[in-house]
Symmetry: C2
Subunit: 145 residues, 2 copies
């Protein structure tokens, strides 16, 4: 006999339980959002596979999986602009990860602190982009050779 | 003759230009991160198709595309927990959107303010989840009937 309510099925376990059970998509990936632990700003959105997640958890450095290069990479391994993880969280259905990080240099390969340096403006002729917080914090040509 | 530098190819246009040109994946979606405009907390990660993006920009309410239900939905249309968009930003390669929102009630269908109510702890036997900010702000059974 069990005292569990009938509603405590597998879905609830994933959402209300404490088992770390990432739900990878068909490509074996979860989405990861990295925010600046100090400012709260969203720095980037990228993907992690099982190995990237494992290495991130074990080392405290952010590791990602590049879909275009089909390769595991440690953030900052070329640029030196590493991300130290202050906290990692999973979302309700465990297919997205949020990491709060201490970002060295800038997160974006264009030289900005964040990849989100353009806002969307709704104008008469349709949506347009507007630069915001778009100052470059480093010279990408000097960093990525 | 053009005065454009040779490096100003299509890739740079997407990253350095001001044309709103979302890059949808094979399923026609971009990833969207919603954060609380007041606290900076990440509320949820979801997806938008072209129609959801258009409606969000035009109405100022967050619209998403549900991959599981294969349907467009306005956040809060069932629960009343709408998201008013304070600012929308695109990332460098325009395949991810960040919206800062004023969230009514809670964003998560489990009753929490945010979907990210569990942190990942690295323990000897492997990763475990730990509840953080997990108090329910509404009763999902009363809201989703």
């Amino acid at each position: 006999m069990t005292t569990e309510p009938a509603s405590l099925h597998a879905h609830d376990e994933g959402e209300e339980g404490l088992a770390f059970a990432p739900r990878y998509d068909a490509a074996g990936l979860v989405t990861c959002v990295a925010t600046d632990a100090a400012s709260g700003e969203v720095l980037m959105v990228a993907h992690m596979n099982e190995e990237a997640l494992r290495r991130t958890i074990e080392t405290g450095d952010a590791w990602y999986y590049s879909r275009s290069r089909k390769a595991l990479w440690r953030k900052g391994e070329t640029s030196g602009h590493t991300q130290r993880v202050v906290e990692m969280r999973m979302d309700c259905d465990q297919d997205a990860v949020w990491i709060r990080v201490t970002q060295a240099g800038g997160a974006c390969h264009t030289g900005r602190r964040s990849c989100f340096y353009r806002a969307v403006a709704n104008e008469a002729g349709g949506a347009k982009l507007v630069f915001v917080d778009a100052d470059k914090t480093f010279d990408p040509a000097a960093v990525y050779k």
